[in-house]
Symmetry: C2
Subunit: 472 residues, 2 copies
Amino acid sequence: MASGKELCEGVEWRIRVVDGSSEVLVPPTGLARKVWLRTKGLISGLGMKVRMFLKQAWDMGANDPRKVIHCIKVGLALTIVSLVYFMRPLYDGVGGNAMWAIMTVVVVFEPTVGATLYKCLNRVCATCLAGFLAVGVHWIASQSGDRFEPFVVGASIFILASIATFSRFIPSVKSMFDYGAMIFILTFSIVAISGYRVDKLFDLAHQRISTIIIGTSLCILVIMLVCPIWSGQELHSLTVRNMDKLSDSLDGCVRQYFTNSNGEDDQKLQGYKCVLSSKASEESMANFARWEPSHGRFNFRHPWKQYLKIGASMRSCAYCIEALNSCINSENQAAESIKKHLSTSCLKVSSSSSSAIKELAESVKKMNKSPTIDLLVEEMNSALEELHNDLKSLSHLLNPSTTAENQISATGLVHFMEIIPVVTLASILIEISVRIEALVGSVEELVKESEMKDKIVAKEEKPEGTMKALQR
Amino acid sequence: MASGKELCEGVEWRIRVVDGSSEVLVPPTGLARKVWLRTKGLISGLGMKVRMFLKQAWDMGANDPRKVIHCIKVGLALTIVSLVYFMRPLYDGVGGNAMWAIMTVVVVFEPTVGATLYKCLNRVCATCLAGFLAVGVHWIASQSGDRFEPFVVGASIFILASIATFSRFIPSVKSMFDYGAMIFILTFSIVAISGYRVDKLFDLAHQRISTIIIGTSLCILVIMLVCPIWSGQELHSLTVRNMDKLSDSLDGCVRQYFTNSNGEDDQKLQGYKCVLSSKASEESMANFARWEPSHGRFNFRHPWKQYLKIGASMRSCAYCIEALNSCINSENQAAESIKKHLSTSCLKVSSSSSSAIKELAESVKKMNKSPTIDLLVEEMNSALEELHNDLKSLSHLLNPSTTAENQISATGLVHFMEIIPVVTLASILIEISVRIEALVGSVEELVKESEMKDKIVAKEEKPEGTMKALQR
């Protein structure tokens, strides 16, 4: 039994070590040799993995240099905050608690301005609130005598931590103050309980707040001054990009079906899948964008939530494109004659809808109402009308009383089953165009709201006047 | 102009303060009154909001008591870790750095066991690694003389922080070690730079590691012993629940269409939308479940990734149900006669597919291959065959040469346009059944893999023997 097992292992090795195949057929003779071969295999496998990993990392950096810039920014911010240690007056000023400044930089520095601001503001506000509260609780505890002090402090920590943790589950709190609630618990616990050991509690609270302010201000400066990446801008570009992808997929799928060409770029056809999977990132970006001050063409309080509605409209189109795709790849092949009969109008519908989406993308990009969108929607509707008529003309075949003198009957009998895929495709196309009209509505709403906000901001800024002019 | 504005404001107030309507029609006379009314409005508005917020919170707690339990667990863990402060020997043992233990509890305590373990293990490993590295760098820096020390330390922080930040972008690192990379930067920076001011650097590193170990062990104990919530179990139940929802939606939609009943529960019909939106939560649960030890019926290394595949299969069905729904709500109404013609077979397909999904849900729930699933798939296929035949029998109408002696022609002429919605619905149903077969495949794979893992675990545990028996 044991020798059999050994033999098995030998065979296994033969597979691993290809370069020594002539020797390996001989069963292994010594333990040293076994160990050597196994180690060699392990090392080469590990080397391969490391090489793959490094290549992946390199490609990622090359594809998106902003990620590399972010890393350099983190390094920069940390190196600057280290100066607090190297400069004696600064270090003494924060009573040796300089590490909180470093901690702040590490935990609040995020890739986008919005995410960093969200964390900074949450951290500062929560720390201040918790600090004051903790000093108050400590005072109450100290009044209640040495015996009861630990109990008062312990109970207050238990109650406040539980409540703050519970608040993190509430959606409205979670989206705005999740991080703040955590920092509140942290600071409150640390300051309240330190009162038991540290004599100068007020100094501790003060030091914690000032180090955190040093850290957050530095982060805000670095993130906003060195190649800033704005969540709002990212969300905006993602929306535009997704619209373009949607448009390309729609047009590509229908064209591939009717022209039987396999030349279409497969990546282009699958673009709608990005739309399907971008819900989570859209939501987090919209969430962070709310914290960003006015930047580029976006004011503070730009209607970011409207982007989520546009995203939802796009996804509802993408669901239909998914169904369309399944028609195209269906086993039930349509008759060529029927395809020909409907191809002109279907292609017209798909190209006009996809150019409507393209125009919407342009409209979002420039953030103004497109002058041609109404025209394009009309064009889409007239193409739909044409498709309706073409579908109706198929009905001549259905109704035995009218003489069937059309293309289809001329080419011979057509089985009903051969019509089904094309008819399904056509009716999904019709549904897609209905959903595109909803998309048009949500894009127009975004443009309108954004113009309204612009006006409000312009009005508010009139008295001050110069700020806006400076930004431009 | 000014008085006009005042009047406007007066009217606005009338709307707000309903209880004093007889007085409000008189324009406001004094500033004090204005301020009073406005304050009253503000307070009542605020009170309303607070009441709404509290109601929302209460409902959330009542619907899912486990959230409340989690909050109590956090309070408990924090109160226990506070004992480190209250007990003099423990406090002195960690050199006054007890706050790190508190910090650890606050930041690593997550609602599920998997998420907590992920953070705990990442925190401990990253702290150890970074601590040793930082002590090494400090030694090198101290060798290079007083002049160069800050530069060596600063450069090492810059380089390591940048690299660690970059690694957080790499998907494979992000899913396993995102938190660890952050803690690595944190600990390395703090320990390396403290070397410049703190004399006993090794003590600092040692204290940080021991406080973190105290905090994490406490968290692990509390999270696993007090009403544990397992990510794996959650993922499992979510998958089963989503399957049930999918099945209900499918059956409900088709039945509503053919029986014209509006009695169907709307929430049941919309259940497929949960499937569409649960991708992100499935992914994070699967990610955390990997860290969990064997619990309940799940071994360590249970094939959690397979759940993601099942989720994807379910979503592909849900896309089609979305398209189906749009057919049902389409303006283009189908002729009743056609509906009647196809209703029996369509209902059969939908009910057999939905019972196949239900059976799959049962199979996942019990984690064994269902004995009846093959039968149900066969039933679904025979229903499909019937639907095919019914569709074909519509073709008698298409082909003028055969005498049309069927139900439909008996009721009179049917426009082709009136056939389209039903035909589209039928072909989407056919597509759904194809996708259900893919779902069957992925569920079977899950069951197979899980049985395989069970066997491996059983084999590994044979020598020890008792562990498994104890767990059961």
